[in-house]
């Protein structure tokens, strides 16, 4: 169970990292002619072996200003999600250490 929890949270952290890079590319290329903004979309896959499905999708935007605002907003939201996952990971590590110490006594 704990392995599942750690693996799921750590995968979420990795996806957050990847999404940060994709959103950074959106911001960097917002004024590039012909550039189409992208984002990482995650959803439950319904598969027990691989419960997450993360896909790179084109984001429909009109104008460079829209891409910039979307990128900034999504970056902020992604940062909050990442922080929540990091908090969860730290909490699980603490719990894991507590259980290990209890077991040693």
């Amino acid at each position: 169970m704990s392995e599942f929890g750690f693996a799921a949270v750590e995968e979420g952290l990795r996806i957050g990292r990847a999404r940060a890079a994709v959103l950074a590319a959106d911001a960097a290329n917002a004024l590039t002619p012909g550039f189409a903004a992208q984002d990482v979309v995650t959803s439950p896959s319904g598969d027990a072996a691989s419960p997450f499905s993360a896909t790179l999708r084109e984001v429909s935007m009109h104008g460079s200003a829209s891409v910039l605002e979307y990128s900034m907003g999504a970056t902020a939201k992604n940062g909050v999600s990442y922080r929540a996952l990091a908090d969860q990971e730290r909490a699980m590590v603490r719990e894991f250490k507590t259980v290990a110490e209890e077991a040693r006594r």
Partner: protein, 169 residues
Amino acid sequence: MIDPSLAFDIAASGMAAQRANMNVIAENLANADTTSAGAPYRTRTAVFEPASLDDDETSFPIGGSFGGGSFGGEFAIDFDSDGATQDAAQGVRLADIVDNPAAAQYRFDPTNPLAAKSGTHRGYVAEPYVDPIAQMIGLITAGRAYDADVAALQGAKQMDVEADDIDRS
């Protein structure tokens, strides 16, 4: 494993590109009233293009296999639906600075030492066609793009701080 510095590199490329863009716009505004005897100053426009960083950095080999537990599957982001794995996230670079093809404006100013001494434009001075409103809009947009790059950079930095904190816990 994703390169932790990828978002930094991409954001930095965007900041460098927008700084160059602002320089071009500043040059246009600075020369808005520049007169000349011959061909006048032409406004210039920065043109950007996506720039691939190292292949190792632009691909996203997200995740991997998890051993143990009920979470034993292979996890991967489907970046490759149309073979776009290498283009998933790219930086940007200044591709070119192009001259505006708009014709020069001529103002009758025979006392100006740069006025044409002969020809059809005798007594006229050539002035560049600079639309200050369009240039200011471009400047604001470039500033906003720079802000977005800074936000991306700060977001990536905060992620590094969080990751370090996990390591320490």
